[in-house]
């Protein structure tokens, strides 16, 4: 694997931070929808809601990790198929009359 230049590393780091922010934003929306009951008699979170929020964050991060692994393996699986497709591309044979 080629070594990344410092510029690329920096860009990758910034990208990761941005994606973490996006993840955080989505998680906030998702867990709010799942756990916070839209009944506003009280300004404090109930015990049930608090417990739910704790578990929601744990579950969301676990889903994030599992799907990440699955997507990585799917992408790696598709790569040899894609390479084979490019090798067998019929448009490449044009011009090599035998």
């Amino acid at each position: 694997m080629a070594e990344l230049s410092s510029n690329q590393l920096q860009a990758a780091g910034e990208l990761e931070i941005e994606m973490m922010q996006d993840l955080y934003k989505r998680m906030t929306t998702a867990c709010h929808k799942k756990c916070v009951i839209p009944r506003y008699k009280d300004s404090e979170l109930s015990k049930g809601e608090s417990v739910c929020i704790d578990r929601c964050v744990a579950k969301y991060m676990e889903v994030h990790d599992r799907i990440g692994k699955q997507l990585t393996s799917m992408t790696l699986q598709q790569q040899p198929t894609l390479q084979a497709q490019q090798a067998n591309d019929p448009s490449r044979v044009v011009g090599s009359y035998q």
Partner: protein, 97 residues
């Protein structure tokens, strides 16, 4: 390099979107801190289906876009020289079948 980064960025955005969608659709009990087996299976099926959905959508989009481009090209050529259309038709009919 910019194009590669653009593609990678899009991949990561799709990844985050998948996580959100599949979490919303598959995880609905918060009795435990860990994921239940059915939730894990649902999430993996949800991911595969979303990826297939994305590919199919992209295929249809590309088809329609290319057809639009071809139509626009033909229109532009016809506007530039309307007599071109008539000439080509005559030339075609004179070709031996």
């Amino acid at each position: 390099m910019a194009a590669e980064e653009h593609i990678f960025r899009e991949f990561l955005e799709t990844y985050n979107r998948i996580v959100e969608e599949c979490f919303n659709r598959c995880v609905y009990t918060f009795n435990y801190r860990y994921l239940l087996d059915n939730e894990v299976d649902c999430a993996s099926r949800c991911t595969s289906r979303y990826v297939n959905y994305n590919q199919r959508l992209a295929m249809n989009f590309a088809k329609i876009q290319s057809k639009k481009m071809i139509d626009a090209q033909e229109q532009a050529e016809a506007q530039q020289d309307p007599s071109l259309m008539v000439n080509t038709q005559i030339a075609d009919t004179s070709k031996p079948s």
